[in-house]
Symmetry: C2
Subunit: 183 residues, 2 copies
DNA sequence: TCGCACATGTAACGCGTTACATGATTAC
DNA sequence: GTAATCATGTAACGCGTTACATGTGCGA
């Protein structure tokens, strides 16, 4: 049981979903802090089924395409809760941007500026995207009990990206000063 | 050539170092945004030597332990610069804490609060550590040209963690209100 | 009828971690 | 002499990605 498995169990607490649905949900709702690849998703669903933590609903009408609708079982809910109750592991991060910056003495100053300018641009776009997503989420009335938690994760993204933006501005300003002092 | 290889090349622009030195440097200076395990480090050094991007210095005096001192070659510097000039790839992140929060509707409210409280505590500690490290860095005069860049990476950590702390406070407050409204 | 979105899966690969293994030198 | 630190490496394993493979149903 990896985090991938728990992520899938968690998604199925929202309601019965197909693999494809989960895939879309992840892409739309959690891609900012969680992602799954196909190569993980489908084998993980198979394993969870085998463990009887999820079940395949009997296809309601005609076999509509090859679609399989999964539901979480009581045993599945139990496993999920056990995992949720454990404090989250502190992640080890690897930030390529900061690694390059750490070796910044070896880069031409204008190229480094370009890099940070690019990060700044992406960060601004991310903030905008997260904010609109947070707005739209409020409008949507389905799955009311999940709403506040989903908002919190979006708020996290907003806050962290705001800080990143601030840092980009600080750093660009600093780099500009540095270059001028060299002239 | 993976990021690990470039990280090692980068470290060797600071000066000639042994594998153990690099290991220590990473643990002391970049662990907040970059880490390497032994299982990567030594094979990577071997490969870089084979590619002649780094060389083993003739052991200066008596073979002091089994120590090998590596230096970057001109070809190595060239490879490093090519990598540094490319804009950093936007990383895919996986944040277990946010994933658990996303499924927060399935957790007892007080346990969730504990989780965030723990994050808050760790974040405060991280800020303090980064700030003192930034102070001490200024005092140290070796490797002057690297200093501003190292400070920028620390500042990044400080800014991001400050935002995280703010978010923790916001979220804890919000959760408390939520619980009271249920009563 | 043609293309796109839906829908599920497998195979290969590689990065990175963990655990194991070994031995030298220094400080107490 | 013995513990801690210095110092280098290997082996096994597993997670996760990428690319490949296949097929359905709907709308223009």
């Amino acid at each position: 049981m990896t985090n991938t498995h728990y992520a899938l169990l968690g998604m199925l607490t929202i309601g019965p979903l197909s693999g494809y649905d989960i895939r879309r949900l992840i892409a739309e709702s959690t891609q900012a802090f969680w992602s799954e690849s196909d190569g993980q998703l489908y084998p993980a669903l198979a394993k969870l089924t085998e463990l009887k933590l999820i079940t395949i609903k009997p296809t309601p009408k005609k076999s509509s395409r090859g679609k399989k609708i999964y539901s979480i079982t009581p045993a599945g809910r139990n496993e999920l809760k056990k995992w949720l109750n454990q404090p989250p592991a502190t992640a080890i991060v690897r930030n390529e941007m900061l690694l390059k910056l750490f070796f910044g003495a070896n880069i031409a100053p204008d190229i480094l500026r370009d890099h940070i300018e690019k990060v700044r641009y992406e960060t601004k776009a991310a903030i905008q995207q997260l904010k609109t997503k947070k707005q739209n989420l409020t409008a949507d009335e389905s799955e009311l009990k999940h709403l506040p938690f989903w908002q919190m994760t979006l708020q996290y993204g907003i806050r962290l990206n705001e800080a990143k933006l601030l840092w980009c501005d600080e750093t660009l300003k600093f780099l500009k000063q540095k270059e001028e002092s060299v002239k």
